[in-house]
Amino acid sequence: MDTGFTLSWIDYTIMLVYFVFVLGIGWALKRYMKTANAFLEAGRAMPAWVAGLAFISTNLGALEVMGMTGSGAKYGMLTAHFYWVGAIPAMVFLALFMMPFYYGSKARSVPEYLKLRFDEKTRGLNAILFAVMTILASGISMYALAILMERVLGWNFHLSLILSAAIVLGYTYLGGLSSAIYNEVLQFFIIVIGLLPIVLLSLQDLGGWEGMKEQLAPIVSAKGYAPDTWTTTWKYTGSASANPLGVEWYGIFAGLGFVLSFGYWCTNFLIVQRAMSAKSPTAARNTPLIGALPKMFVPFLIIVPGIAALVLLNKPGSGFSLPEISPGHYNYDYTIIALLKQYLPAGVLGLGITALLASFMSGMAGNVSAFNTVWTYDIYQSYIRPVTGNKETDDKHYLFVGRMATIFGVIVSIAAAYLASLFGNIMDFLQTIFSMINAPLFAVIFLGMFWKRTTGHAAFSGLLAGFVIALLHHGLTAPLGAATLVKGGWICQVYTYPVEMAQNFWTAIFAWTTATIVTVLVSLLTKQKKSDGDLKGLVYSLTPKFKEGNVPWYSRSTTLAIVVLAIATILTILFW
C-alpha cells in the first residue's frame, strides 16, 4: 500500500499554528529560567492537574500510539491490559505510598533518592545507565519521526531529523522542564482532539460497537479463536493458547500487572520527574492519580480504531490496506496512519498528523529534560564539580551546565538516530534492556522504602544480579520463530516461548525475583551504615505518616485513589 499523503495548505497552516505555540511557550518561559532549580525541576511549582496531564502525556508518545493501535488490530481489547491492570494499580501505589518519599526526601531525581537512601555507587550505577538509555530513547524517537515524515509526507529524512531536533532543542533550551511539561499538556489535548474523529468515524462506518463485534466474529474465528476474543479482556486468559497474547491470566497479573508496570511507573525518572515538579506534597501525590483518570480511557482512543482496522482489512471494498512486510504479513505499525488516510479529509487530517508529530517531539523533549537533570545533578555535581557553597555562583553555574547538557543531549540523540537507521533492530533491543533495568530497580527501591534494614551493598548487588539474570534469561530463551538474536537465545536456546510478549513478561519476573532475593540476603549479611536519623523521610517506618492537612474528604488523595480504582474495576467488568 502507498503510505504517502498529500497535505493541502489548510493542513500545513494547522501544523504551523501548533509549532508557533510550542516555541512561543518556550520563549515566554525564558525570563523565568534564572536558576538551575527553575530550569531542571520547574521550580517545584506545577499545579497537580498540569503535572498529572504531563505525567500521562509523557507515556502517550507517538511510538506508543502507533504501536498500541497496531496491537489493537493484532490482539484486540486484550491490549487494554496495558492500560488497566498494567498501569492503574502501579499508578495508585506510586501516588499513595511512594510519592511522599520521593517528594518529601527533597531528592531531585530517582538516582539522587538512591544516593540518599543507599550509597554513592548505587546512585552512580543507576544514573549512568539512565542517562545512556534516555539519550538512546530520544534518538530512536527522532529516527522514527524522520522516517515517518519521509514516508508519509515525502520530506527529506535528514531535513526532518534536523528540523525536529531544532524545534525540541528550541523549546527545552529556552524553558527547561517547565517548557517540556507545558508542551506535554498541549500535546495531550491535541492528541485526544486529533484522534477522536477517527474513533467516531470508524465506529460509525462499521455500525457502532455492536456492528463491529458482529463483523469481527468470522474474522477472529478464522484465526482459530473464540468469536468474541477481540472484544474481551480476561475471558480467554484461562490458557495461553486461547488468546492472541499467548499469556495466561497469572502471567498477565504477575508479569504485566506487577513487575513490568510497577517497574515502569514507580521507578522511571522520566515519569516520576513530572510528579516531583508539583507544587506541594499533596499535589505530588495527586499527580499520578489525575494522570490515571484519562489513562483508563486511552484504550477507546487508540485500541478501538485498531480493532476497527482489522475489520476494514478483511472487508472487501473498504479500500483499506496496510503495507506488507512479506506476503500476508502486515506491518501493523502503520495502522494509525492508514486510518488517518482512510477517514480524514483535508483539515482534520492536518490536525491528526500534527497530533502525531507533537507526540513524537514531546517524547524527545521528555527524554532530554530527564537526561539533563540526571546529568547535572547526579553525574556532573557528584563527580565533576561539587557544590561550592556560594549559592549565587552555584546556581548560575549549574543552570549553564543544564543548558549545555540540553544541547549535548540533542546532539547525541541525533547521532543515536543515525545509529538507529543503521541497525533496524535497535528499538526492540532498547525496550528489552529497559525492562531488564526497571524490574530490579523496582525491587530495590521497594525494599529500600519499606524495609529499613536494606543496605547500600545489598541494593547495588541486587541491581546487578537482577540485570545479569535478565540477560541470562534473555540469552537462553527465545520466542517462537525468532529470526534474530536481538529477540533472545544468543547464548543457547533452552526454552521457547509461544510469543515475544510471554518472554518479556517472564524476563521481568525472573529479574525482579532475583533482585529481591539478592537484596534481602545481602542486607542480612552486611551492616546497615545509615542510622535511623539518616533514613528519616526515606523509609516508611521511620517517617511520620503523611497528613493530608485541612482538605475536605472529597479532595483527598485517598478519595481520588478510590474513585480511580472503582472506575478501573467497572471498565474491567464491562469488557471482561
Partner: protein, 70 residues
Amino acid sequence: MGIDIKLPIGLMFSILGLLLTIFGLFTNGDVLLYSRSLGINVNLWSGIGMLIFGLLMLFFAYRTQKSKKP
C-alpha cells in the same frame, strides 16, 4: 511558573477551531472532499468543538487572572 498554561491552550484551540470552522463552512457540501468521512463535515464539527474548548479554557484563564488581582 510564570505563565498560566490555560491561556496558550485556550488561545491555540480557539485559533485552530476558528480556522477549521471557517474551512468547514466554505467546503460545506463538497461531496468529493467529505466522501472519506462518510459524508460528514468533520471539519465543521471538529472546528466548533475545538472553538468551544478553547473559549472555555480562555474563560478559566481569565477567572484565575481575576482572582489573583482583586
